[in-house]
Amino acid sequence: MNTQFWVVQAFNGVSYGALLFLVGSGLSLIFGVMRIVNLSHGSYFLLGGYVALSVIHATGSWALSLPLAAIAIAALGIVMERLFLRSEGFEVVRTLVIALGLAILFTLAFQKWQPHIVGSKSEFAIVAAIATVVIYFLLNRISIVPIEADVLRQVLLTVGFAFLFQQAALDIWGGNNMDINPPPAFTRSIVVGGTYLPLYRVFMIAMAIAIGIVLWLVMEKTRMGAAVRATVDDAQMARGVGIDTNRISMFIFALGAFLAALGGVIGGAFLGIYPGLDFEMLPLAFAVVIIGGMGSLGGAAIGALAVGLADNFGKALFPEISYFTLYAPMVLILAIKPTGLFGRE
């Protein structure tokens, strides 16, 4: 174990931390603003990677896949937030979406049971349409129980969606381990002081720093950012002084999904994209959020760096307890200061 080892491991840790920052900062902001523990955040990471694969497959451009995947998943995040994480507004659309989903499942079951009645695609569509209308009117008779202010139900709802996304990804993209290949220019290494550093990891660090700076500028220097910070500190008070916290949460949720998907595209190059990655990233993202403090951007940066380094050195130095050394500090921090190192009460 010479200096070389420490330099390489530290570099790997920092670049992994850069990836974790993308996932963790969004999760942290979502928690800070909406007090929602979003368990589908790992799914955004995974889906971002998958969408990027499709974009690359269709256009051949890696650079194009970054913004497209992130925007697509941000849109998904907005839909989820507007329709399901708030009970007011869009009641009709929500009921329609649920009715449509149920109707498709019902028709699939019917097809399984009576294949000769629902054979062709058009027959399937007709039966599904009728079922949608019927279920829609049935569901309209039942009102939704407001989900705000019930932490557990919000958590479980996001898990339910994580399961749905997982299955959808499996159906669309299959169960194989896939790789996102960045342009050849990125696969080279650069030599710094006799150490070979993969250029791609340098790019990851640069990307995370750039995004971190932009986020910081938006949060600290703009009116919107001030409104977000006010909402994190005291949502009720922020509403009282006329801040539209409803719009803020939509914006933050979309931003969080955007960043997670971006992380999925960038991380897909060296982690791979495979089923189960969603629930692998999720606890790591939580570790970032908890160590850094919920709702704090600077905290997320430090948390990501800490988790990235702990993960890398843990795996290299004491592999048998490496995850333990990652999560045990998380427990201690939570027990001593539940709001995290940089979180505010």
Binding site: V155, V159, G160, P283, A287, F324, A335
Partner: protein
Amino acid sequence: MASQQIKILMVAIALVAFVFIVPQSGSFVILLATRAMAFGILAMSVDLLLGYTGMSSMGQAAYFGVGAYLTAVLATKFHFGMGWDFWLVVVLGILIGAGLAALFGLFAVRAGGVYFLMITLALGQCVWGLAYRWNSLTGGDNGINLSGRPNFGLDLGNEVIFFYLVFGFFAVSMLMMYVLVRSPFGQSLAGIRERELRMQILGYNTWLHKYIAFIIAGGFGGLAGVLWAHTNGHVSPETVVLTTSVDALLMVVLGGAGTLIGATIGTAIVFGLREYLSTLVPWWQYALGGVYVLTILYLPMGLMGIPSRLRQRFAQGKNEDSKKLATKPS
């Protein structure tokens, strides 16, 4: 009180019917029922925390996992627990679950609400990390295969005998938890769930109450783990992964928290969907996800809450009608 006795009678009849009908079915159904009952003990232990104490634990799989790994490690490394000493393993499993909960509870119990959720998640991940990485003890990602079930005169390798054994543990666990929640201790837990501050003002040591409940739930989790290891014949990090904890929580919410019987109904539905439906159709996970989303949006009290939801609806309907009458221009 009478309605309570009717409910107990209904549960007892359902259990007796269950224990008579299932062994008549094929081995697939018997194994499915055995698995569901072993996991059902875990779900009830989650309900003890969530439904009766108001603590939503996201790390209950930790106690389940240590129980299962204890069984597997003792059986494969020390050939312990394959005969009469199986009963010792059961006791050890309960003790290790409770012991781990006693340790974890020191960190977790004083946290409230969302922080309790997060800290139990982190604690669960600690155990998962050890199971996943500590290759020499746990076999890492591959896990541990058990070579068979204990045989102590009763051959548990026989599915039906094993089914009866797990049913016995399941029924006794349910009874014990029922007695617990009806006891004065259980009543003060419910008081803490409703309003912790008031209980503190009344002079209750609410931390100690929650801590003890946490330990008891851990003990039941360990017991469920021991049975699970022998039911599956295989223990892997999947047993302690985050989704196992979340599954247990969802089962409780699906059936109805704070009812115990709801936890078992939720377990039965989830296992039925996951293991029976998955043999029939490839889209079973949509059905499962859909059940979760619908339950959470429309039935926060779970399936057991349907009667009260209906009652509320009829009462509301009447009110609306009377309002309409009142505002109708004459």
